[in-house]
């Protein structure tokens, strides 16, 4: 049996990061808390296999990501959800890229909730790559391990995710009258 006190000392300090990742993946807060809780229980079960001194945050975020994918698989919808996402999110067009000259100001005019909402419109793989890189500031190598893909895949997903996020926020800005029409 793993040492509970040692686990608490090493793992619990990352609760905020674990919860944030859960928020990025789940549709509501209640589910995010359940997922974070399930992640810590699973981590405790496996704590003996955790290599002391290695990156505990990345280890926990990997468990959370796997747990989330398992939940979708268990409900037999993962292929379906991901297929819908891939199908319905259009590829951003590089040549249609718009420069927002007052970018910083515009970004500040969104609420935190709107920014998170926009992130959640991305397909989950892009969403998670961008979240782990920008918010949790993990290395591309760590993100590749968490998502079980090559580093090159993380690079392309992050870059594509950022372009779509920008496009989504621009459409919000138009809807809300922060900017006018086509730019």
């Amino acid at each position: 049996m793993a040492d509970k006190n040692e686990f608490e000392t090493i793992a619990i300090p990352y609760l905020d990061s674990v919860f944030r990742e859960a928020v990025a993946l789940c549709q509501d807060r209640k589910k995010a808390e359940d997922l974070a809780q399930a992640t810590f229980l699973k981590a405790f079960e496996r704590f003996e296999s955790f290599e002391k001194g290695s990156n505990c945050k990345a280890w926990l975020l990997t468990i959370l990501r796997n747990k989330w994918v398992d939940q979708l698989r268990h409900k037999n919808v993962v292929g379906e959800v991901l297929a819908i996402e891939e199908e319905m999110i259009a590829e951003p067009q590089r040549n249609g890229e718009t420069g927002w000259s007052d970018c910083q100001d515009l970004l500040e005019s969104f609420s935190d909730e709107q920014v998170i909402h926009a992130l959640k419109e991305l397909p989950y793989e892009q969403r998670l790559s961008l979240f782990l890189i920008d918010v949790e500031q993990l290395s591309q190598k760590d993100v590749a391990e968490i998502m079980d893909v090559a580093v090159g895949t993380v690079k392309s997903r992050t870059s594509r995710a950022r372009a779509i996020l920008k496009k989504t926020l621009l459409s919000y800005a138009k809807d809300m009258g922060f900017i006018r029409g086509e730019r």
């Binding site: 686990f7 819908i84 590089r94 998170i116 992130l119 690079k155 992050t158």
Partner: protein, 264 residues
């Protein structure tokens, strides 16, 4: 001189080894601008999440569970017949939080929308929230035939409903007032969360649904209000509005299941 690619700029943001890129940036205003924009987006995303914290009780709940070992956590989201009694406290809390959101957020979020459209969307969200609240009259039933009978008695027709299975389960239904009319709505448990389908006679445009898109031969309208996404499709004489804290992609997928195989 070719400009830096998006992926090279990502490398620069990460402080990666890209000496040639840094030299290019010194002389190229365009790439410098693109880099600044990407950095600003990254920074804004980080600051948006900085306010996200778990509820105060979560650490304690985790600690307690480490003492007693695992128990099933997923029961709250089991697909199937919904036992409202055992979730009374959870749903009260959610309903209370939803009430705060309905009052607080729309004002800030939707200043740009015409007020009648905003009011229609607020009313749709309210119907959805009421469906989840124990305080409101709700016909709890997961048999589509019984729900159809209920609607027939109350509304004079029975709306299209998705077939249960593959993670979908009907939870029940109710009738509500919407723009002075009696309308029907029913609740579906899905793997992505709980959603209501509200069936109204109003045209999607008059509900302020902005984003129009096509899927197959059908046209859908999407919008969002407070924390809820909405997708609407016109079927026969009615607009079916799917409402929930669920991505519009998934709401669309659910609505597609209501549609007949034939063309609109």
């Amino acid at each position: 001189m070719s400009h830096l690619t998006d992926e090279q700029l990502e490398e620069v943001i990460r402080g990666g080894p890209l000496k040639a890129g840094l030299e290019h940036l010194e002389h190229c205003a365009e790439c410098k601008g693109r880099l600044a924009e990407k950095e600003a987006l990254a920074g804004r995303l980080r600051s948006a999440f900085a306010t996200i914290k778990p509820g105060e009780g979560l650490t304690e709940r985790i600690r307690q569970q480490l003492n007693v070992g695992p128990r099933p956590l997923e029961h709250a989201h089991t697909i199937g017949f919904f036992n409202i009694r055992s979730h009374r406290r959870e749903w009260s809390a959610i309903a209370a939080a939803a009430a705060v959101l309905i009052i607080g957020i729309p004002l800030i979020f939707y200043l740009g929308k015409p007020s009648s459209a905003a009011a229609a969307q607020a009313a749709l969200v309210k119907i959805h929230e009421n469906n989840l609240s124990v305080k409101h009259e709700f016909y709890s039933e997961n048999d589509p035939e019984k729900l159809a009978e209920y609607f027939k008695g109350k509304l004079g027709f029975s709306p299209s409903m998705p077939r249960p299975g593959r993670g979908l389960a009907l939870r029940g239904c109710c009738v509500a007032h919407f723009r002075g009319e009696i309308v029907g709505s029913y609740v579906v448990d899905t793997p992505e969360g709980v959603m209501s389908i509200v069936v109204v006679t109003d045209q999607p445009e008059s509900l302020g649904m902005g984003g129009k898109f096509e899927r197959g031969d059908w046209i859908f309208w999407k919008s969002y209000f407070a924390k809820c996404e909405m997708v609407t499709v016109r079927l026969g004489d009615y607009s079916y509005c799917a409402v929930g804290e669920i991505s519009h992609k998934y709401l669309t997928e659910l609505l597609v299941r209501l549609l007949p195989e034939s063309q609109p």
